[in-house]
Symmetry: C2
Subunit: 451 residues, 2 copies
């Protein structure tokens, strides 16, 4: 009896994909950077099936790659070779919104967009949003502690997390889905699993807090002279708005690429080196944002939208970046964060750092201004991809920054983890991994570098 036979008995034969054609879309990330061959793809329908699948794999000592919406950018959900690929997209149950607690429990495979719609239908909203909303799953968002464009207002996924259900590699089910409002009865293992990238357990169900919906909002796209001017605008915006909804930055090169790929018009008559998107919520946000723009010297030109169509049109300049970059080639994608005082220096140093490492490459930078979090994309690095990564991450570390602000470590950055974490921290992570997954079956080669 083969493992595949056991797995088919658990989830049904049609949900064990062994044919290479059927497996293909699961075996490569959407940017095309990470590929691997899975032994098979298994698609369980509920927690009990996840338990049985994990027990069968553990019995045979077969490693498991855990995958949600496959929108990750560091290869964390892509097999290295020979793993059972555990796809959680069928765990897509939406439970009724608990309106009194402003919380909801959903299956790990629920798409972010479906959660957002579900929350809105009950008069709430969800605090995390990001461009991959149509495909990213809630379980993946928790496993990677996803950030996105609302961190300035609501925090990362960690801050939304109320409770979890998860399954350890040996099939043990942990459930702390609806803890009391205050509960100090031992270790907060849901917080430990958040950001652990599938290396400690398989998340099967998530309970999150919901937020009040924002009826009025206004978006401004602002052209500015440089990163320093963008920071001056941000500082003024933060003083004015207690409810700043988003603060994003991108640059002339990115705008140019986005416009050529998507045939978008120029936002302004003049060109600027940098562009900021600000979103304001709350009471008369359009008036507030217009007042801000009129009193801030850093503003070169600006356009404001308060209606949904206009807002979407302005956001498109920022949100189209990832897809436009992908259309242009297979990029090296880095996701870094430095202290605000180092942001100008980092942006100044990036072009020469990248060009020195990969002479004919093309650099596109954008990101979340409020946290000093930049997505550094390098096209055309070719065989110099590792050299570019090494140079940029060392530059970031020299500023005391993080080598991964929101994407996680995955397979892509394990060899640079020592730039952000001490040897003692990494060894402690290993001890925790070994405690929960002593056979090293869950997402091996992800997050932790080989000993």
């Amino acid at each position: 009896v083969t493992l595949e036979h056991d797995l088919a008995a658990i989830v049904g034969g049609q949900h064990v994909l062994v044919d290479p054609d059927l497996r293909a879309s699961y075996e490569v990330d959407w940017s095309g950077r990470f590929k691997g061959t899975a032994r098979c793809v298994v698609r369980p329908a509920d927690t009990q099936q996840v338990v049985s699948v994990l027990r069968a794999c553990a019995a045979d000592g077969v490693p498991v790659t855990v995958q949600g919406g496959n929108t990750g950018l560091v290869g964390g959900g892509v097999p290295a070779g020979g793993e059972v690929l555990l796809s959680l997209v069928r765990l897509d149950q939406l439970e009724p919104v608990d309106a009194v607690a402003a919380q909801v429990s959903v299956g790990a495979g629920v798409r972010l967009e479906a959660l957002q719609r579900h929350a809105k239908a009950a008069g709430f909203d969800f605090g995390v949003d990001l461009a991959a909303r149509s495909a990213a799953t809630v379980g993946g968002l928790v496993a990677t502690n996803a950030g996105g464009i609302r961190v300035v207002r609501y925090g990362s996924m960690r801050a939304q997390l109320v409770g979890l259900e998860a399954v350890l590699a040996d099939g043990t089910v942990l459930s702390r889905l609806a803890p009391p409002a205050k509960d100090n009865t031992g270790y907060d293992w849901p917080q430990l699993l958040c950001g652990s990238e599938g290396t400690l357990a398989v998340i099967t169900k998530v309970r999150v807090r919901l937020v009040e919906p924002s009826t009025e909002r206004a978006v401004a796209l602002v052209g500015v002279a440089d990163t320093a001017a963008a920071l001056a605008l941000l500082a003024q915006a933060r003083r004015r708005f207690t409810t700043l909804g988003a603060a994003e930055i991108f640059y002339a090169d990115g705008l140019s690429l986005v416009r050529s790929v998507n045939a978008l018009p120029a936002p302004f008559d003049d060109s600027f080196a940098a562009y900021v998107i600000l979103e304001a919520f709350g009471n008369k946000p359009t008036d507030e944002i217009l007042d801000l723009l009129s009193e801030c010297d850093a503003v070169g030109d600006a356009t404001v939208a308060s209606d949904p169509v206009g807002r979407t049109r302005l956001w498109a300049y920022r949100e189209s970046h990832t897809e436009a970059i992908n259309t242009a080639g297979v990029p090296v994608k880095l996701d870094v964060c430095v202290p605000m005082g180092s942001l100008v220096a980092l942006v100044d140093q990036l072009p020469s750092t990248v060009t020195d490492a990969a002479p004919s490459s093309r650099l596109i930078v954008f990101g979340h201004l409020n946290e000093g979090n930049l997505h550094v994309n390098v096209l055309g690095a070719g065989e110099r991809a590792e050299a570019v990564t090494d140079a940029v991450l060392k530059l970031v570390a020299s500023h005391g920054g993080s080598i991964s602000s929101e994407h996680g470590v995955g397979r892509a950055k394990t060899q640079w983890l020592t730039l952000s974490r001490s040897a003692e921290e990494i060894e402690t992570m290993r001890r925790l991994k070994n405690a929960l997954d002593p056979q090293n079956l869950l997402n091996p080669n992800v997050l932790l570098p080989p000993p």
Copy 2:
């Protein structure tokens, strides 16, 4: 060479207390419920001394009890017998406030009141406050994920935590004191240590977020007919105030005890079954609170204060509870939380539950209304203390509540942990404990029940 000799060489002879008289105040909690004999008390001055002390204890296989301000209520910082008592009160460094980040790093031994003063001197405030502020240490607050009277506004200690420095039982120093604003590079061990009650590591330094100071605030003491009326008042207050600062409840028996111990005047001409303290922040809070009181049918009588002296006078009715109860005897102290929909039933069922378990005892209940978190105090239970604990905690569990909302498990509640946590969760906690402290040296017998 004895261990005491080694320890004296590390911290200086005057900071190793072996004389029973000198040890005495460390060996009993302030309520008098928990006592034990330490082998000696060691008072290191810095992280390196903590490392050396832990290494010396590990070499001899001697267990360590970790103690901060010794204000805990579950015996977590009191020795069971024969441990080295590691007192962290000399780790009292206050680093300068980082005004840009609105954060500060302080030694684990810094008292809450000192942190609050330090924050205020820099134009900020700290988000956690509780009655034991003059003695409780920041390290202890993190180790127990302390709550207090500001949870409704700022969250528990977990929500204030930015970074940590801690030492494992084997002397390994973990430092993640000032992580970048966003950093997804592996397991968030600071969140794992928060609420672990000294069983996983010794916290030596803490970085916390600071909050904007509240210039205007108003306090109302409100007499109401019962718990249901208190909840109606709370619901109306939450709709009105986006910045509700506190919502506390106590009852006629508690008021009577507090008044007799502290010779306080009656707050109102009439008596009420229950009393609510509401605190409002922000814009014209006195007007807002007066409007609320005038429109809410649940209000029996009310008095409002906006000046510091008046506010302190009203808060005294609530904050004097713990000391007044202690003056009256050695209480059984329970700290529970139920879903809001069960709070009225719990309050109704508590008197008979307690009387059935300990016929001649006296029940005093008060707590944090917003989270359904009640401090259940039973005086005069005598030999029936365990029976009372068992009956109350089982009642709470029957409502789906927590057996410890903010005090933690300590030594007091390990035998009831199964009421709040599944066998699988407890076994998982054991695996984590064993990974970081395989010799079981740190706070043995605290939090986790014997296997």
